[in-house]
């Protein structure tokens, strides 16, 4: 592996003739870059901007606040994926917030809420079947990678007529967010490394449309060091040649048509909707909502919309919005490593195994 990466780094250095700014969309790629120190192997002038591809980072705060409120109810079993349990809601770091109120789901659990960690959404169905007198609420987060599993859960729950299972839906779509970044007046991104796992599900058609509309090269790639380096080399080759094209550097996993079974599930259970992304704001077509036949699984509709906590105070020093948009690096945040650490995160990017701040903190080279 080391030999291949070194070769790719040498080829990259001999290919780059002028400065380029590219974005790796996926937080898994950001972590691989920092984890392996790939940025130390890049030629000067090739600048990486870290993208918003961190599912827990972009989950809208109001959805998380609703989950926190629901988790406090005695009849509710609130379940979600691992990293989501640590993400601070909007009250975290806010001046004047109730110091005892839970600001994340682990805190809600410590305060007596029944909060469970799932590795598969189908576990939520088992929970609902085992506890018919409780309301099981699944906080469903993630990109097109995890959305099909939620769809499968809902299809099975519908077939079984499960009445005590619902979802707080926060699934988001990657391609519209990439487009929104390109439409920003201050955009600096000249090319994208697109996320291989999303490509495995959705195929490459959406990305092809993005290339056509905006004339930027996009290379789909994976998460191992050699995948990231091979993707960067292909992207730089396209930039140097002035060819805004789509390329797939992750052919062993991603096929052009994607995963038809997963796409059919998404089509049956969800409809595309405009959605706020935490840190990025509203994104046209940026998320999924429940299709009419599945709307009775909406937790807010079934259990009533909980009162949402205080708005984040302007006093919070967290700049996670600018970090998720690629406009600032984590180390430029005054709170990084001081007021904000993985033990006491002020923003979601410090939490997740895909968040950029967590990657910079975990794999740093100097004391903060």
């Amino acid at each position: 592996m080391a030999g291949r990466v070194t070769e790719l780094a040498a080829e990259l250095a001999s290919t780059v003739s002028r400065p380029w700014t590219v974005m790796e969309v996926c937080g898994g790629q950001t972590h691989a870059i920092l984890r392996w120190g790939l940025d130390q192997l890049l030629p000067p002038g090739l600048r990486l901007i870290h993208g918003p591809g961190c599912p827990v980072c972009v989950t809208p705060a109001e959805r998380l606040d609703a989950a926190l409120a629901l988790a406090a109810r005695p009849e509710v079993i609130l379940c979600s994926y691992g990293d989501m349990l640590r993400v601070p809601g909007s009250a975290a770091g806010a001046a004047g917030a109730d110091p005892v109120a839970a600001t994340d789901l682990l805190g809600a659990r410590a305060a007596g809420g029944d909060v469970r960690l799932l590795t598969s959404p189908l576990e939520a169905m088992a929970l609902a079947q085992a506890a018919p007198d409780r309301e099981v609420v699944f906080l469903a987060v993630g990109f097109e990678t995890t959305a099909p599993a939620t769809a499968l859960l809902l299809r099975q729950a519908r077939a079984l007529g499960l009445a005590n299972l619902s979802v707080l839906l926060a699934h988001v779509r990657v391609a519209p967010a990439m487009e929104a970044l390109l439409l920003e007046p201050a955009n600096q991104v000249q090319g994208f490394l697109a996320a291989g796992h999303v490509g495995a599900v959705m195929g490459t058609a959406e990305l092809g449309q993005l290339v056509e509309r905006h004339r930027v090269p996009v290379v789909v790639t994976g998460f191992e060091p050699a995948d990231v380096m091979a993707g960067l080399l292909r992207l730089v080759q396209l930039l140097e040649a002035g060819t805004p094209a789509l390329a797939n550097a992750y052919g062993r996993v991603v096929r052009a048509q994607g995963n038809g079974v997963a796409q059919a599930l998404l089509q049956e259970v969800f409809v595309v909707t405009d959605q706020p992304w935490r840190g990025l704001g509203p994104i046209a077509g940026g998320g999924f909502a429940l299709a009419p036949a599945y709307r009775h699984f909406d937790a807010l509709g079934r259990l009533g919309a909980p009162v949402v906590g205080p708005e984040p105070a302007a006093a919070s020093p967290c700049i996670s919005g600018r970090i998720l948009q690629g406009r600032a690096l984590p180390a430029e945040c005054p709170a990084f490593g001081r007021a904000c650490t993985p033990e006491h995160p002020l923003g979601a990017p410090m939490v997740s195994s895909e968040g950029a701040c967590a990657a910079y903190y975990r794999y740093r080279r100097q004391a903060v």
């Binding site: 070194t6 898994g28 691992g82 349990l85 993630g142 033990e343 740093r364 080279r365 004391a367």
Partner: protein
């Protein structure tokens, strides 16, 4: 109906006596001991090491062991890290009402088997029962004494720049076994816990005349936390070569899947040894038999205080930071 632990099993009456007679007596090297309030011990002359540890683990039984084997081996291993051979152990149990008796039997059998494996005797104990919902099946606390056989103090303060770092075996197996059991991951083939006594390897080093400056067992927090603790305690920089760290393929693959670092995963049968440079080759040869390896070097601290610097397999450098918070699987 399955037999289960009841509150009265801890109440001091006849049920408790039955529990001790039928289920727990086999733990004791000298069953007559259980009739006495305290154990009377004859220990050989020399300095003693003393250690205590509480054991809470879910699930109680996991691939490669259960809470009983952990509780004996864990405390014996703490003693081994002071260069001491474990001699005697106490075992206090807090049982939850409703615990199936068959689970208790398996835990007790594992306690007894691990005691034999470590060559120690269980000499005193206690049993309490808490109401259903107020425990997690079984909590164990063990305390042990051991006879120090190392000729020089084994202590982080003995670490010097130039010393060499070794690990006693491959990393992360216990962490993966627990995570797999907890999250229902059916790994094929299964990854078994590395739970095992460390004394045989320590004894082999001592018997060969290897000078040891420090030992540290790799438990929760894994190698990353242990190295950080040593670096801070000794005020030195530890320079680690990632390419030299032994990690078995199934452990590495599981970590990649779940977003974990093998260096953050728990171990229950591994230690890091810090030895002076002239002892490194000998130590490496002895530890290699158990899958051990040389992993790095001790350097003088560069800035304020100790730190751990990792050179990746690609030759790039970063700090090795201890795990923060719970290990939670990533999302995608």
């Amino acid at each position: 109906m399955a037999e289960r632990i009841q509150l009265a099993h801890g109440g001091g009456g006849t049920l408790m006596q039955q529990l001790i007679d039928q289920e727990l007596r086999a733990l004791y090297a000298d069953p007559a001991q259980v009739l006495h309030d305290a154990a009377l011990l004859q220990v050989p002359p020399g300095p003693l090491a003393f250690s205590t540890d509480g054991y809470v683990v879910q699930p109680l039984e996991f691939p490669g062991g259960n809470i009983g084997s952990l509780a004996v081996i864990g405390t014996a291993n703490d003693l081994a890290m002071a260069g001491a051979r474990a001699l005697h152990l106490s075992v206090a149990m807090i049982l939850e009402e409703g615990l199936p008796l068959e689970v208790l039997r398996r835990v007790v059998a594992a306690l007894a088997a691990a005691a034999r494996q470590c060559g120690l005797t269980i000499v005193t104990g206690d049993t309490k029962v808490v109401e259903r919902g107020k425990g997690d099946g079984v909590f164990l606390t063990t305390s042990g004494i051991g006879l120090v056989e190392a000729p020089e103090p084994i202590d982080p303060r003995a670490i010097r720049p130039g010393d060499q770092l070794l690990v006693s075996g491959d990393l992360g197996r216990h962490g993966v076994a627990i995570l797999a059991a907890r999250h229902g991951l059916d790994l094929v083939p299964p990854v078994l816990s590395d739970c095992a006594p460390l004394w045989p390897q320590v004894q082999a080093l001592l018997a060969a005349g290897v000078r040891i400056h420090c030992l540290r067992d790799l438990t929760r927090g894994g190698l990353a936390s242990a190295l950080q603790e040593l670096a801070v305690a000794a005020g030195v920089e530890l320079a680690i070569e990632e390419a030299c760290l032994p990690v078995a393929e199934p452990v590495a693959r599981t970590c990649e899947l779940l977003g974990f670092e093998p260096l953050h995963l728990a171990n229950e049968g591994r230690f890091v040894a810090v030895v002076p440079p002239e002892a490194a080759d000998r130590a490496r040869a002895l530890l290699a038999a158990g899958g051990g390896a040389w992993i790095g070097t001790v350097r003088p601290a560069t800035g304020a205080g100790g730190r751990v610097l990792l050179t990746t397999a690609l030759g790039t450098e970063r700090l090795l930071i201890p795990l923060s918070g719970e290990l939670l699987p990533r999302i995608c």
